[in-house]
Symmetry: C2
Subunit: 258 residues, 2 copies
């Protein structure tokens, strides 16, 4: 077989190695270097049925926790109808987000998972588009009494009190729930709470993505209290504080406050 | 060509579609449903040269920020030598981690990226293995004066003061640096600081992964202060606090403390 012919066949089979055939399809691995020889798969969102995704998320939660279940609910649903590239998504990776990243209770895995999903479908779009979607999700998470989802057959606890996290951080979200429920952070009720909250999260992000797909605008504003703080401390003020998280859970205003 | 033979060849080439050959290789999408028809690619870590990865991370940082650059430094390096599945990794997704997830300043993207890398290579291993690696990385991040990396040709600022974050959270990490440097969170010095810190992070996680590959044990213990708090408040005590983050930046002990 002629060498050129063989290269063409290998290319068509995606088997050409070694960085030789850098070309147009370098989306997966960024703009330069180590670009894929084959055109990288496109990760396009397709409209999903929230109810079906919700059932899946509740079901797969025990396999890998919050971030895994939220991302898996979406990616597995798309794999079922669309095939690749969703079938090859490295979903097991998302287990790292459990317990606020390796049990550190930093960012809630539901929030981290929703962010990752936005990244997956909007990774090549302008940063402002990603941030608008994440802003809407995170503002909802901070201010909403959760969980709300009621599984058909609750597996770990029959009833779960709802609480408002006031924060996107796992530690604060769980601590607030412990105060309200008077249960420990290691109880079966808490595990059931996080399982249901993950379903609430996927319902929210699927709603946001479905609306965005149809050209709808994200709900714009951050919480008024956060806007008030960042007006002076953010990039247009003193510039000594970065972020959009609710300030009040950690900061008390000095009295008098300038 | 006999049908069986053809199926074998297609299977070996990873070209069998349509949900027919569900089998042993369902790793990418979890244990049930929507399993890949083709054997899922295995995401195995291979030993990397820290110096080469470091150069790449500094270079690609402007393409997508902290989490993107850390994960990209590792995945692009593996794509260069190993080909698939690294070439098809959805790296653009990782742009969501910039600025502590969509600019919210929650978890630092370097910490989130290191966790994601651990998830990618240890996603199918017992949770304890992931947590040991993440514990080592995060404890180092909290307690180490960063950045330390000195680029050959600094692009955004010639010199950058180092500070100890005392936290894995972006907001606290950046605020601490602003105090020490007397620069704003929106200055070019701060951007250069985060760029160099991302290189420090990839050097640390590559060192951890290289050692783990050779059978070395992760450095075990959490910070003594965190152990002291969780002894009473964690799962073996009152159970009213979950997590491993340093407590002191947000909590002052009541006086007297029981």
């Amino acid at each position: 077989m002629a060498k050129t012919k063989r290269r063409e066949i290998l290319r068509s089979l995606g088997m050409m190695g070694g960085g030789v055939l850098l070309g147009a399809g370098a989306r997966s691995l960024g703009a330069e270097g180590a670009g894929p020889a084959t055109p990288a798969p496109a990760w396009h969102y397709r409209k999903l049925d929230p109810a079906r995704v919700a059932e899946r998320v509740y079901r797969i939660f025990p396999e890998g926790g919050c971030m895994y279940a939220l991302v898996g609910g979406i990616v597995q649903s798309l794999a079922e109808t669309e095939g690749e590239p969703y079938r090859s998504f490295p979903l097991a990776m998302m287990r790292y987000g459990e317990g606020g990243v390796g049990g550190w209770a930093s960012i809630c895995g539901v929030v981290n998972g929703a962010g990752a999903v936005v990244g997956l479908f909007y990774g090549d779009r302008p940063k402002e588009e990603r941030e608008a979607l994440i802003n809407e999700f995170n503002s909802w998470y901070e201010a909403t009494a959760l969980p709300q989802y009621q599984p058909a057959k609750p597996e770990w606890a029959p009833t779960v009190p709802a609480s408002t996290a006031q924060s996107v951080l796992c530690h604060q979200s769980v601590s607030r729930w412990c105060e309200v429920s008077e249960k420990t952070a290691f109880s079966m009720e808490k595990k059931e709470r996080c399982r249901r909250l993950t379903v609430d999260g996927v319902l929210k992000i699927v709603g946001i993505l479905n609306r965005a797909l149809e050209g709808g605008k994200p709900a714009a504003a951050l919480a008024p209290a956060v806007q008030a703080c960042t007006a002076c401390h953010g990039s247009k003020g003193r510039g000594d504080a970065m972020g959009k998280m609710s300030c009040a859970p950690c900061h008390k205003l000095p009295d008098p406050h300038p």
